[in-house]
Symmetry: C2
Subunit: 363 residues, 2 copies
């Protein structure tokens, strides 16, 4: 379909029970909680992929789960909510009336569509106020990124089986677990074996923390309840545009990935929401699998690199993470196919205004 | 979860691009049409599994596809429609104003929720009235059943690899392709090698053509446009209850399967719609995969046989067809989980009344 000399591979994480790579960390997190005698976990979810993965994992280990789901996703993707219910989890639309954080947001804006940062605040508050409840996070933090490296470790072996190593490795970027999961094991080959594999993080141009954010300390949540993390951020008050890629609607980036980017050991690209659906549709028609909107960001980067190969007449090997299927995102495809999707532009002034609100330490 | 001495295997057809076994016949049908120079195909779909499989297949071979989707499913499962659109198919809610058959139904009942039989009539009419359009069917007919035997052929080899042969083979029953696909290759072992493998077709108790229908000639569609088929039927005018298993809401049964049942070479069981969702939920919580409602009928039969093994203290090997995932059926799970699903009973009088309307030849 691309008429490119590039050879393109993908790691298919979309066939897990919950439909994405998220069980790679959900299952160990639930397991370690079980070993510690924990009977209840709280968490948040944006697009619902993390929430359903943890619901699946908690179901396996007989742990109660309470999920705060970003309200706009709760309304747009009711099937994800029901999937979590099917595995026994309780799901609340966030902001909710169940927490101080949620009530504070609602008192300012009763119609708040929610954000991942707000939902994190609510889930943390539930855990902080309860003796027996622990909090679990699906991305950003170091242990989550490291759990996900199973993706890249498998991919290294699989590329060896295929008889070639990638020149370029690409993954979508929300908080970092998807990208780190695939790329870290390839970065190890760069660091230890002197290879020169380019690793590209693909983010939405409407949530451009890696490409246009600031590297400084910031909170992981909106209210400011988490420890400070050195990260590329747009500011924890930043309200991402309502794009159909809930998992990427997050203001910040995990610490390790942020440092790697700061040290120019990895790259970041951004793509607007029309470009990513165009990429996703081409992939669906070519390969049969309809990808999650988050995944489409990686595919947009792959297509850009494959086209460059054609222009330059070079044959590169490209690997990307097909991190999830789009079976629960058909409303987004419907809007794209019917021409109802429009671009979200963000100005330098808007980014500066959000960062100016920060009182957290600079690096 | 069942504490049974039975050993249970399943053939997983839910990981195909469109999420079910249907591409097994959609792809060859599209291929042979392409070889014949056909540029346009019409078809119908109940739950949307067949429609999306054929949309996927026609996309591969660059054939236009027009799908008549039973209106109740069109409204309940808009994501299936969008999936078909994503692969380039046109989808109409049936009954539609586009055909004489649709207009006739609508003039009698403007609020008709549609049925598989009506949708078949509409799709056939489109093909019959057009020089260049061919009609394609996803079950019932002999060639479709035979395409699907790839399921059972693979399963025979896989059971050999697992080192045991099933005592009981179970599949859901709509028109017959799901059941025939898995069971025919095992029946061959019965006929040619003298084995004694029980093959069970699982149908909804609200659409009991195999367990309570009549073996006679009937039409495959509601209007009476198809050739007459010797089949177990409830009568082509039969309007199935609005259960959440659109693929099984069909009045008749394929000819080969019907003859096999008549000759007592296979068995049929029926399950009510609450029992099947209870079975599906147990499977989802135990295995992680949320099955399609159609598939849940087979699981209900598996559980019944596994419980019998426990009661009788015998260890049987059971194989069933996990024919599809339930990612597009979460509304049905939602209704089940919230207690809104109720049983549909059907009386002998209702069945008799429907069969009495038939003027087709008896056998």
């Amino acid at each position: 379909a691309l008429d490119t000399p590039a050879r393109i591979y993908y790691k298919n994480e979309s066939v897990s029970p919950s439909g994405s790579h998220k069980p790679n960390t959900a299952i160990p997190q639930a397991y370690y909680n079980k070993m510690e005698g924990v009977h209840k976990i709280s968490t948040e979810t944006g697009a619902g992929q993390w929430g359903s993965a943890l619901a699946f994992a908690c179901n396996i280990f007989d742990i109660d789960l309470e999920v705060f789901m970003v309200k706009i996703s709760y309304n747009d993707k009711p099937y994800r909510k029901t999937m979590m219910n099917t595995w026994g989890a309780k799901v609340h639309a966030s902001p909710s009336e169940l927490t101080d954080a949620g009530r504070a947001i609602l008192s300012e804006d009763p119609n708040s569509p929610g954000s991942l940062g707000i939902a994190i605040s609510e889930a943390i508050e539930i855990a902080a106020k309860s003796e027996e409840t622990k909090y679990s996070l699906g991305s950003v933090l170091n242990h989550v990124l490291l759990h996900q490296t199973i993706i890249g470790q498998e991919a290294v072996k699989q590329m060896e089986m295929a008889g070639e190593m990638p020149d370029i490795v690409i993954a979508p970027f929300g908080g970092g677990s998807n990208f780190a999961g695939l790329c870290f094991p390839f970065l190890r080959l760069n660091f230890e074996e002197g290879q020169n594999i380019r690793c590209i993080a693909s983010e939405p141009s409407s949530v451009p923390k890696l490409t246009r954010g600031e590297f400084r300390y910031d909170f992981g949540d909106t209210i400011g309840m988490t420890p400070l993390i050195p990260m590329y951020t747009l500011g924890h008050h930043f309200v991402p545009a309502p794009i159909h890629a809930g998992g990427l609607r997050y203001h910040g980036a995990g610490a390790i990935v942020s440092q790697l980017l700061h040290d120019k050991l990895i790259e970041a690209k951004s793509h607007d929401n029309l470009e990513v659906f165009e990429a996703g549709l081409l992939f669906a028609k070519t390969e049969g699998i309809i990808p999650a909107p988050e995944t489409n960001h990686a595919i947009a980067s792959v297509i850009a690199e494959a086209k460059r190969c054609k222009e330059e007449g070079v044959s590169k090997t490209i690997l990307f993470n097909l991190s999830g299927h789009g079976n629960f995102d058909m409303k987004a495809y419907e809007e794209y196919l019917s021409g109802k999707l429009h671009k979200f532009e963000i100005s330098d002034e808007e980014i500066k205004a959000s960062l100016d609100k920060l009182e957290t330490p600079k690096i």
